[in-house]
Symmetry: C3
Subunit: 341 residues, 3 copies
């Protein structure tokens, strides 16, 4: 169901203020993210070892968490620092998970293997843009995270599901190439002197709406996708492209629900950060109004059954999505094999 | 749970306009009813073979269904007629179910055996009445369809559950006779010079509310019941009856939910179709306000367990309902035996 | 899950008027409490033996229950007294459960062993107070009844969960002693010249809020707790205490839902019954606003798993709660052993 030995993007850094905490379920585990007064972050189980209640129902001051039920207190290290009812024993300590902040996001490692922060997916494009020019957020969905990954890995759906904005046919007409590189998968769509999607055509000073188009999506385990879109008047893709970078991170909450973290940056928003809220709302509207109902209906129809057991008819456009599924399945199988030994 | 080799009433014909479609779950199966521009109707799986999403979320123009997700198009025949992403392969065709329109209703066959449209339950009484004099509709219920059948097959419940309209005791006092004829069951209630139900007495010019009464219900698999009610002043049942025909069709949606299709015709409504809306509202109110709460509570109490395993105490008035349950159980057992071989 | 050979408090006596009935689920069983015209009470299955529907959907007049579905009638003895559809057979009789009224409450015995009304938990304190001075009620909770018992058996939680009223630390600082006496468990908290809880301090004419404190809770199977709280100015606990008695009765409805019956009496309310409604509202607010959210979250987190299998870290303050759980587990194990033989 879930890969364990990997980094999950669990929150945007600014969701947790200094000294405060945030409870969130990630890949089935109830986690508590605690930031101490100095800003250092830790990931703890969101469960009091005493009575198993959510620590996130309590309070947090200067990074010290107090359980609302019987007043036990825990430091961000996981150590129980106060037990009003007796001695602090080792049974009262919480075992922290490896947790790293990078690219303005909180990453947590849920596996048994050693956590290597070199394996954190590269979302460095975020760091290269001033904060006010980042269009980011989190959306919650009652869809399977793997279906949400499939959705990004086959962007031909934009021609139909987002016909009036990102569609019109260019995604389907574009030449697509999918390749696996190590533990990642990259799919590239290219089109030359073609009718651009309505939203893109609107940005260019073109009478016939034609242009060159480039769309590259790189998937990294478990469900992190980094996307570059560039388009320009015919022949100008090298010299004068309108360029954007977006990440789509599908962090599973449970088997059938997902946290969707997105961050969009573009030359346009960097030049005029005042438009960031409009771009944010447009991205949210596209997902909530167009993708989410479809992905949630698909999740209900599959109803927890194995996707392949339902024998879906594969199309050439599924190549990237299938490559990702096969790779993820293999990673999970290897992990389970390791656990059995 | 469900009989497969039988005709299910899935919709009233006028629920699907020319060129349009209707998604509906029948006996656990997700079906899509598509009417082409010429009016011909087909029953397809309501699931795109590509990504398993409901086709009913898409659009339908002139009987061509377009999947909202990736734009595949299907004709009413089930053939994929457009695949924007590659060749049309046989894996993309939808396998239609046998589907026939008769008695202003849509019938679908979900079984493996050959569909014989001679086996469609006879609701010819509908055809013999002008459209404006038919009082019909569909109600949704969270009750087991077999409990809904039991309810019609033992109309003594009207004396208690519908005491102020169809009750008062005559159904219980009436002489009842249940017989199995081939694959059907007929139960007949008769009473002479008895106190009629309040609703019936109101129609007659009688001072003491007495009259003769005839009520015949015929069950046909899987859950189609045709009912004739006639009543008259004492001795006038042959010469001057007030007569009505009604069908009660309990089409299972899932194991615990049911589409209840009804169509009521009577001499009274035929003579004055303007009263049809009032009659409609009275029928809906009786079911929704009196039957449904009881049948839904009964379904919750049984909670998916086998009815007989709960050892209900049978009464003489259950004779028709029990005959039907035994027959349906036998039909399903035979069908399952066939599947095992 | 549930002890069977024990008395469950199922209702307050005044919930069922003379001649009337009340349907309520107790320990998974659907029960119907029927009071005849003379005031005698009986506990019957809330299920018609004919069609398995809830009898509580019908009507009750002078203690005769009529099923709303087909009109069968039952006396409080469980005997079917009217069958409009045929002879009254033994299959139509309902088997009553032993049912006793005591301490203004209705007690029912769900076990196979002989019911001994000497085993009804002693809540005699209720009888010793005039009716208008009893502060009582019933609250419904989606929490496991055993967690609700744990909550009362470890009142140190009040220091944190009810900090502004019953808390402040005295419960945790008090000396606690738990003892098992026969089939009961008693835990006693005592403190001398200590800072009283804010609510208690407010009742005393003390400048520094200090006083003596006594809190005794006695648990009786299956989940009946009787609590005495007394406090006074330092040294005056014997001579001039403010005294109260409260019962907390956690009657399971289902595996994860509970009826919480409480009755509070005190010298203060007896002296001035006009304040009873305010005390009632304060008790309801404390449970609904502070205990219930915690216990319901705890129930969701445990999610039906065995409590011990989750290896909770026990504290000295759990002693009473653990003693009760071990005793109840042993009682259930013995009962199940009896059933197997």
């Amino acid at each position: 169901m879930f890969l364990r030995n990997c980094w999950y993007l669990a929150a945007w850094s600014d969701e947790i203020a200094a000294g405060d905490m945030l409870g969130r379920q990630i890949a089935g585990a109830f986690l508590l993210f605690v930031r101490d007064a100095d800003g250092a972050l830790a990931a703890l189980p969101d469960q009091c070892p005493h009575r198993l209640v959510p620590l996130s129902m309590g309070k947090c001051a200067s990074g010290i968490v107090e359980c609302a039920y019987h007043g036990l207190r825990f430091a961000a290290s996981g150590h129980c620092v106060t037990n009003p009812h007796g001695p602090v024993t080792s049974a009262l300590h919480l075992r922290p998970w490896p947790c790293v902040e990078r690219h303005s996001a909180v990453w947590v490692w849920l596996g048994e293997a050693d956590a290597d922060d070199g394996a954190i997916p590269d979302l460095g494009f975020i760091d290269r843009v001033p904060e006010e020019a980042r269009v980011y957020g989190r959306l919650h969905s009652t869809a399977d995270y793997r279906l949400m990954t499939d959705n990004i890995m086959d962007l031909t759906h934009a021609d139909y599901l987002h016909a009036s904005s990102l569609g019109g046919g260019i995604n389907t007409r574009a030449r697509a190439e999918a390749v696996q590189q190590g533990d990642g998968v990259t799919i590239t769509w290219t089109a030359s002197n073609d009718r651009l999607a309505p939203l893109h055509a609107g940005f260019l000073d073109s009478e016939d709406g034609r242009g060159d188009f480039l769309n590259i999506v790189t998937w990294m385990a478990p469900a992190v996708m980094r996307q570059r879109i560039a388009f320009a008047l015919p022949g100008a893709l090298e010299s004068a492209p309108l360029d954007s970078m977006t990440c789509h991170v599908m962090t599973p909450e449970t088997a059938g629900t997902t946290h969707y973290f997105f961050c969009h940056t573009s030359d346009g928003v960097t030049a005029d950060p005042a438009i960031a809220p409009q771009v944010h709302d447009a991205l949210v509207a596209a997902f909530a109004g167009e993708d989410a109902p479809m992905l949630e209906a698909q999740t209900r129809r599959i109803a927890g059954r194995d996707f392949w057991s339902l024998k879906p008819a594969l199309l050439p456009s599924d190549k990237g999505a299938v490559m990702v599924r096969r790779l993820l399945d293999r990673m999970m199988a290897e992990e389970n094999k390791g656990l059995e030994q």
